[in-house]
Symmetry: C2
Subunit: 204 residues, 2 copies
């Protein structure tokens, strides 16, 4: 194909996105061509805005276009509870439940000795600062930290490190529950999840 043509240029740029092959890119490009002007224009503007405007929230390190993210700015949320997550997609996954009304802290990674990621490579310092002074948390003292890293080896290591670092402070630390997923089937649940479900059984 002649890559000087604008369509080929668009297709080849689209294939650089994850999970988008030549066929999908081509389908997307022709869809964009057929749509009224505004889709291409709005997508183009959104792409520019996302790179120009997005930075870290000064308080929780979430990605945002403002100095403080919309969650930290919100007066409807409970800023005395902080849910610690590995990255922004995890934060969004929790937000979609609609269950959690507290604040967040985004570590931007998890401790991974194999990949050479230690606590100093993460946004741990900013978290401890928020726990030590109410001022760094927008004026409200933190009462509980919920560690919501994945129940993987690295996620558990991060959780252990956090509980050790936070325990000397006057803040409760909790960990999200692990066990058989809702709708899951005991027969097809892996051994480690089943053991965890047994050892963390609750009284009824």
């Amino acid at each position: 194909m002649d890559h000087t043509e604008p369509i080929d240029q668009l297709i080849s740029t689209l294939t650089r996105l994850p999970g988008i092959g030549e066929r999908t890119a081509s389908r997307l490009a022709f869809f964009i061509l057929d749509e009224p002007d505004r889709l291409a224009e709005e997508l183009s503007e959104a792409l520019t805005a996302v790179k120009d405007e997005v930075g870290f929230c000064e308080r929780c390190c979430n990605l945002t276009g403002e100095p403080l993210c919309s969650i930290c700015r919100s007066t409807d949320r409970d800023h005395s509870t902080i849910c610690v997550v590995a990255d922004t997609p995890d934060l969004r996954a929790i937000e979609t439940t609609g269950e959690y009304q507290g604040a967040y802290h985004v570590l931007h990674g998890i401790i991974s000795p194999l990949e050479g990621v230690g606590p100093d490579d993460l946004r741990m310092g900013e978290l401890l600062e928020r726990l030590e002074s109410a001022e760094a948390n927008g004026g409200e003292a933190v009462e509980e930290v919920i560690v919501a890293t994945s129940p993987s080896v690295d996620g558990e290591a991060t959780s252990l490190y956090l509980s050790k670092a936070i325990n000397p402070l006057d803040v409760e630390v909790s960990r999200i529950a692990s066990g058989v997923p809702i709708g899951g089937n005991l027969e097809h649940t892996d051994k480690s999840t089943l053991s965890r479900a047994l050892s963390e059984r609750r009284e009824l």
Copy 2:
């Protein structure tokens, strides 16, 4: 989610693309955020270019950023053979085979009585002009027209219409072969494909 945030804006714009749901859009948006600046910028530029610059090739009605598409401009191709296709994706599918060295004509649709699409809604006039005068075909007289519409009801109707329209002219008309696909399996081939494969059998 707060749609004033640039990330949410990008995600919601991406979900307007076909086959891209909330999850994929979110994965794409975070990928774009993590990539060095040029991906977002290049994609944004490619989107603008495709809408601003792309139009129809004056000769074959292919989509192009120039007055003539790269195939019609090429001096390496045989402009005495025209392959008629329904749309640009079909043209590209044939190009990927690397087998065809002739020119094309893009109808931008097929005759479909059910959807109210008749010959006058397609780029038939432009094709007949190219067949009638060598001048309209860049100076070379057309010797053969290969009808490469899909072997569907509408595709066959379009093919029949074309052969009737072209027969009075001094131009050969042919149709792409139909039959059992390569790698296909007789047992799982549908009845109409098998009948076609039998009736269009070739001598060995």
